[in-house]
Subunit: 300 residues, 2 copies
Amino acid sequence: MIAVTILGNNSALPAHGRHPTSQVVQTSEHFFLVDCGEGTQLQMSNFKIKRSRIDHIFISHLHGDHYFGLIGLITSYGLQSRQNDLHIYSPEGLEQIIRLQLPSSHAMLPFNIHFHVLNKEETLFEDNHLRVSCFAVNHKIECYGFLFEEKHNPRKLDPEKVKLYKVPYSFYDELHRGKDYVTKEGKVIPNADLTIAAEPGKKYAYCADTAYYEPICKAIQEADLIYHETTYRRGEEERAALRYHSTTTQAATIALKANVKKLLIGHFSSRYEDVSVLQKEASEVFENCEAAVEGTCYIV
Amino acid sequence: MIAVTILGNNSALPAHGRHPTSQVVQTSEHFFLVDCGEGTQLQMSNFKIKRSRIDHIFISHLHGDHYFGLIGLITSYGLQSRQNDLHIYSPEGLEQIIRLQLPSSHAMLPFNIHFHVLNKEETLFEDNHLRVSCFAVNHKIECYGFLFEEKHNPRKLDPEKVKLYKVPYSFYDELHRGKDYVTKEGKVIPNADLTIAAEPGKKYAYCADTAYYEPICKAIQEADLIYHETTYRRGEEERAALRYHSTTTQAATIALKANVKKLLIGHFSSRYEDVSVLQKEASEVFENCEAAVEGTCYIV
């Protein structure tokens, strides 16, 4: 299960009570922060996000509406005596900006920050349950989307069948690996009779700020949920291209071509007070579409 | 008349829906911004402040909770195609921080920024109506308070008397300068009979972040309103001294010694959810005291 909580759904110029980009991606094991526009730490408080649980922050690109809240979050971590290492992933340049502001701001931080520079498509984080990787999008400056993929769980033991066939505990690992069980009497019990298919791992893609860019379809193919920006309405394709942003129909076309299950749209221009019209436009091309609402948690 | 709108009344760690420090000081002619913590531009939108009217921003010191919102405000000015020059006053170091972030953030700004370095007590802004100056306070790092003084208005003409004595229009300037009028018949009409005393100019002092520091009384003497921090409650003098902050009774004692008319307290520690107790403590020493509320405009 992957849960995405939207902290900011607006584009660069905050308006209509909407905030610049930020979202929390949560699995059973981890909290990740994706982008960190101004006011992110305030939004975390508003929506009761456990900020201390976040050890990895992914910054898509260095336009201010995606990172101006980071320095405030870091200094607040300092004031709260955080101990855990913090990992920050972004294109080149962020470390210099943060480190320049730290000395005057609040003395020494009681934790280490590790800055990781994004410069190619690669795996950024991986454990037994999850892989996080980045993929290039097409924006005015170097910019990456992030892909969160739960690993396919091994088959689970069927407790009743295991008991019925008296499979010894020492053989459980073998069952997990897919082996059949042979009883003392020499009877072969197929693995499929002793285990239950686990739910497939979920896949969530954050597509950052981008012009219409079909190459991202490869990375986000078959995702359960994607967040794709729709800065502008249909008909504004020229303006969108000039600014390396997307329109509603462009985002929906990407969702369609990548055969994803659900589309969440955001990064709305300040020119739109009511974003329901954006949702309507996108859903005419790709039906399972929602307009991101700040404070709402989307679960796949 | 001077109007002070509080945008943030909290200390460094945002809490209880309260924001880091920022306030707008408004006269009939000007809008000034004093400090600019994270979220200031969002608070301006919340409270319908005309941000485009602000040409001068005063930053007391370089702790992040007093300037982290500045880069976001500046880039938003850029997105809104601001044309007017912007003047920013702060201790040394801010220009480097802002200029480092501008290129990647949003190309060229369509307006000029003039950075002014504070390093002594001096007049920062002056016109026919108002003088703004800074005064040193006692904080962990270099830090200044700001004093807003309306100039004493000249006496106003009394329209009925001027008509009665048939004072020619060409003599009005002389009347403003305090001269008596001599009629054609040689009768001397005293200036005081032809003019009305204007209201005295108002005086507002923002005392920034500071330990208990009596030398500021000189600058803020007889002010109509002062904003003095009360990060901590009475009894926390040791903690306050260690962090170069003030308690409620210390702020109130300063108000008393400086013989000001009204005390507004703020910069509340996140440890206090209910700040009415801080107001109560301060008002036991200095009666005319209010606890600053975000979005409220205090007029003198």
